[in-house]
């Protein structure tokens, strides 16, 4: 509808310092906590793009997607499971066929970015020219092109 929460699996992210992670991450402010039962739910399903940001982040895999009622025949499911460096997807067809796909998401751990490492652009003298930070290291050619 499109995302929905299995109330038996949702624990309202107890112990997560950012609070309920689906509420934290939803790009369209859809996932909220029902204060009476302390479970997450999608407050405006027709504004859900089925982006799966909440599904991917839910620590108890409580969030699923029931495809848009407008055009998705019932019975299928596409559900991700986190792996060490990516996601494993379980795809179940309406007719019961199943497929499994696993893809990496990143080559380095979260938090490992080192800013501006080895950059040589001078913060004063290069400020007025057309260079961007890190050009000398990362542009891949010796000189920034200018039109002929």
């Amino acid at each position: 509808m499109p995302t929905y929460v299995d109330p038996n699996a949702c624990n309202a992210c107890q112990g997560e310092h950012q609070g309920p992670l689906c509420v934290y991450i939803c790009p369209n402010d859809l996932m909220v906590l029902d204060q009476d039962i302390n479970k997450g739910f999608n407050q405006e399903p027709e504004m859900c793009s089925e982006c799966y940001a909440c599904v991917k982040l839910c620590p108890t895999e409580a969030i699923h997607v029931r495809g848009y009622a407008d055009f998705i025949p019932m019975g299928a499911e596409v559900q991700p499971h986190r792996t060490e460096d990516g996601l494993r997807w379980d795809v179940r067809f309406r007719d019961g066929r199943t497929f499994e796909f696993t893809y990496p998401s990143r080559t380095k751990p979260v938090g490992s970015v080192v800013l501006y490492e080895g950059f040589t652009e001078h913060r004063q003298t290069d400020l007025d020219n057309q260079s961007l930070a890190g050009d000398s290291l990362w542009l891949g050619v010796d000189r920034l092109p200018t039109p002929n």
């Binding site: 509808m1 499109p2 991450i25 790009p27 369209n28 402010d29 407050q43 399903p45 027709e46 504004m47 793009s49 089925e50 982006c51 940001a53 495809g67 848009y68 009622a69 407008d70 055009f71 998705i72 025949p73 019932m74 299928a76 499911e77 596409v78 990516g86 996601l87 997807w89 795809v91 067809f93 309406r94 497929f99 796909f101 893809y103 990496p104 998401s105 990143r106 080559t107 380095k108 751990p109 979260v110 938090g111 970015v113 800013l115 501006y116 913060r123 400020l127 007025d128 057309q130 961007l132 930070a133 890190g134 050009d135 990362w138 542009l139 891949g140 092109p145 200018t146 039109p147 002929n148």
Partner: protein
């Protein structure tokens, strides 16, 4: 009116929007700015906000200069042809020459890019490289957060208005908005502001109008804030008549680029015909662009649309034929291509994977329908709506240059990504890059203009009362009806959205009218839009979530009205396949190879439209 408390933040540079452009701006600004205070404000959480939050299966803007694949000049040639002759060559060149830096950095930060056996990047098209891009957004967000500091990133804050300087309305002073999850206003006072928010989905009525309203091709949360913020303060806009109508897999709107370019699949009509063959002669009407290679996107749309209009659909992407040909009877090869095909959707448009699963479509056995979607107004991807900005100092001259790269016609107001007009085909990497270009330029501007802006408290208070009005309206009038949704004193933001979409679809050349309109139809649409704009003063909101929806609707309405007025002004059909002027059905390069620009004047509540010349800087097209 009782208003909540206000938190005021003073900063040197304010970045509005935390998508790819905003993250690029944050990363770049801090390298050059030293002690300057840079603040980023975003309505969601930057790890998954913006159009790339769901992920991507390819980077679509990469030169590969180090491999000798393309030069920035090549890129400009391609873009100008694909846009049927209208793109700012200086701006496009500038993105092209810098973009490889950004792509290589994204890889360094952890983005998995497909590689050939020799370690070079794999390619799926001339400018496209495939990625395992499900996490491209959190990978881009991390350096942004680290660069300016988590304490300078304000999330779940919806910016509704820009502030101009009390002493000079042509100069930026900051922005005003409210916290979606706290009872609180934010006022940001800034010497420079960079608009990095999104283009607009859901201005036109989408093909799916129930739950599927959210399954627009472009993000449902892209509300045209870039334009809705800039237009009301009188920023000069360009090419607001342009729209992008994507050809995509039907309903789920999954990407087709990989199918055309990498798997070499064909789209055939119900008679088994290929419109690029049967409609080849049609291209001759649109020279010199008709003979460009590849055929410009709108013309390919136009060829397919002729088949659809003639009743020759459904149109099927022959995934089955393409995959069987690649596998050539080898099960291992079939496993590989099946993995690649599903990843294309699972990385970026998961709803399309669910569409396949729900309709029992295994692409190696069953072809899939494709369709022309509803129109979108945007400044990245294949759109070119946005602000008229200054170009780079070493390339732009005359009317294309006024001091600071990517500065709009408002002093100190910069734009990037969807906010910049006439600079299309940026996609994720180019938008990140343009955010970086604008940020470095903003640092330069602040160095030259170090004085704090003058902000009028009375003006801020007035804006805050306007922002809060829908909550007050609902509260005041809710007792007039026993049903909250039916009340003669207010309309809900959802009701308003449907009304906007109906005007745009039926008068502005939406999907239900075969993308066709004319002068009397547009004039009637503008008349109805005038009444709609008046009625926006009667929006009602039950809570802050709905208040955010009200302001998103108001931003979308600015986009819709600008689009209608620009459509009316350009008396030709420049982009068949995107829209048709039935009264001016031909391309008219002699009179209309110019940029159509507009400015809104708040004092007189009027729009003025004008043209700006096309300059060949790189190409002789």
């Amino acid at each position: 009116m009782t208003l909540p408390s206000t938190e005021t933040i003073d900063c040197d540079i304010l970045i509005i929007g935390g998508g790819m452009s905003g993250c690029g701006a944050a990363f770049e600004s801090k390298y050059w700015s030293g002690d300057l205070k840079v603040v980023l404000v975003e309505k969601a959480a930057i790890e998954r906000s913006g159009a790339t939050g769901e992920g991507l299966s390819a980077i679509n803007c990469y030169m590969g200069q180090r491999y000798g694949w393309n030069t920035p000049e090549d890129f400009v040639h391609y873009v100008v042809n694909d846009m049927m002759g209208l793109a700012r060559e200086d701006l496009v060149y500038d993105v092209g020459r810098h973009v490889d830096n950004s792509v290589h950095l994204l890889e360094e930060w952890g983005l998995p890019i497909w590689k050939k056996d020799n370690g070079d990047y794999e390619r799926v098209g001339r400018w496209q490289i495939p990625i395992h891009g499900e996490s491209i957004k959190p990978i881009a967000a991390e350096p942004a957060r680290k660069a300016i500091g988590a304490e300078n990133i304000f999330e779940r804050v919806s910016i509704t208005h820009l502030l101009t300087d009390a002493d000079d309305p042509q100069k930026i002073a900051g922005a005003v908005g409210f916290a979606v999850r706290e009872n609180k206003f934010y006022v940001f006072r800034a010497k420079a502001v960079i608009i990095t928010c999104g283009g607009a989905s859901n201005v036109f009525r989408p093909r799916s109008v129930g739950e599927g309203l959210g399954r627009t091709w472009y993000s449902v949360f892209a509300t045209g804030a870039a334009y809705g913020l800039m237009i009301p303060i009188g920023t000069e806009m360009t090419q607001m008549e342009h729209r992008f109508v994507p050809t995509r897999f039907k309903d789920g709107y999954g990407p087709v680029g990989m199918w055309f370019q990498y798997f070499h699949a064909q789209v055939l009509n119900s008679k088994g015909e290929d419109y690029t063959v049967t409609r080849a002669d049609e291209l001759k009407k649109y020279e010199p662009y008709g003979s460009a290679v590849p055929t410009p996107t709108p013309l390919r749309n136009h060829q397919m649309f002729m088949d659809i209009k003639d009743g020759l659909g459904p149109m099927y992407m022959r995934t089955d034929v393409a995959m069987q040909k690649i596998a050539d009877g080898d099960p291992a090869k079939m496993d590989k291509v099946r993995d690649e095909a599903w990843e294309d959707f699972l990385d970026m448009t998961i709803a399309q994977a669910l569409t396949w699963a729900s309709q029992n479509i295994a692409p190696e056995d069953t072809p899939s329908e494709v369709v022309l979607a509803e129109p979108y107004i945007m400044g990245s991807h294949s759109g070119e709506a946005g602000a008229w900005v200054s170009g780079p100092e070493d390339i732009a001259t005359g009317e294309y240059f006024w001091g600071y790269n990517r500065m709009t016609t408002i002093q100190g107001l910069f734009a990037a990504g969807d906010g910049v007009g006439a600079a299309p085909h940026k996609f994720s990497s180019g938008s990140f890059t343009e955010g970086r270009i604008a940020a470095k330029s903003a640092v330069n501007y602040v160095a030259d203009n170090p004085n704090a802006p003058t902000v009028s408290d009375a003006n801020v208070r007035g804006i805050q009362e306007t922002i809060w009005a829908p909550l007050e309206t609902f509260d005041k009038h809710k007792g007039a009806s026993s049903a909250e949704e039916i009340n003669p004193n207010y309309m809900t933001p959802k009701q308003g959205l449907v009304r906007l979409q109906k005007i745009m679809d039926e008068y502005g050349g939406g999907a239900s009218t075969w993308y066709t309109t004319n002068e009397p139809t547009l004039e009637r649409g503008i008349e109805l839009m005038g009444m709609f704009r008046e009625d926006l003063a009667h929006l009602g909101a039950r809570n802050r979530h709905e208040l955010m929806r009200c302001w998103e609707l108001i931003h979308r309405t600015w986009v819709g009205e600008a689009h209608l007025r620009h459509l009316l002004y350009r008396k030709e059909t420049r982009w068949p396949g995107y829209y048709y002027r039935s009264d001016y059905p031909d391309l008219d390069d002699a009179n209309w190879r110019v940029f159509v620009n507009s400015k809104f004047d708040a004092a007189s509540n009027t729009w003025s439209l004008l043209t700006r010349p096309y300059k060949n800087i790189i190409t002789s097209i």
